[in-house]
């Protein structure tokens, strides 16, 4: 089991563009959460998906949206990118609440 995998690992966008990040959960995990980690900060919760529905959402604008597919993989979409969206985006899957398995992240740079 490769664990949680994310793609791409790095990407550069310009302001106003849109980005899609992808995540495959650990085998057998049905819940996927997304986090934004700015430099020098801890991960901040964006939202969580379970059974293809957004179950919980953190304090992020509607520009951040997501999707979960029947195979439990997930996408994070960010529209109208701002410079402040530059961060490491982490995906985590879980079977037991709180016991998160993280991917290595997608580092987004917005110029």
């Amino acid at each position: 089991d490769a664990g949680v995998t994310q793609s791409p690992t790095h990407l550069i966008k310009t302001r106003g563009q849109q980005v899609t990040l992808r995540c495959s959960p650990k085998s057998g995990h049905d819940t996927v959460s997304w986090y934004q980690q700015a430099l020098g900060q801890g991960p901040q919760f964006i939202f969580q998906y379970y059974e293809e529905e957004e179950r919980q959402r953190g304090n992020f604008p509607d520009r951040f949206s997501g999707h979960q597919f029947p195979n439990y993989s997930s996408e994070l979409n960010v529209n109208a990118l701002l410079l402040g969206d530059s961060a490491l985006y982490l995906c985590a899957s879980s079977l037991t609440p709180g016991e998160l398995f993280f991917g290595e992240g997608s580092r987004l740079t917005v110029l």
Binding site: G42, L90, P97, G98, L100, E104, G105
Partner: protein, 108 residues
Amino acid sequence: AQRVTQPEKLLSVFKGAPVELKCNYSYSGSPELFWYVQYSRQRLQLLLRHISRESIKGFTADLNKGETSFHLKKPFAQEEDSAMYYCALRTNNNDMRFGAGTRLTVKP
């Protein structure tokens, strides 16, 4: 407000010395707390959770509701303990609130 505070960004100790990484939380309900660790060039991973009350890699953490703290302790630090440590709180909405992290360096 539901918040986790780790007051020390950096902590440095010598090998064999005791180490304590501080974590304070603010939460109105019954908290569920965790410590996550990120070793160099590895992904973030769960170290321990308070409800399991177990020792992992020699680390323990006790939930003190009176002081709203969940400090991580180890009596004798090892060089391989050098890492970034994050304290986290699971809210009753099932989202996780992470602290800003403490970078622990264990010197030889």
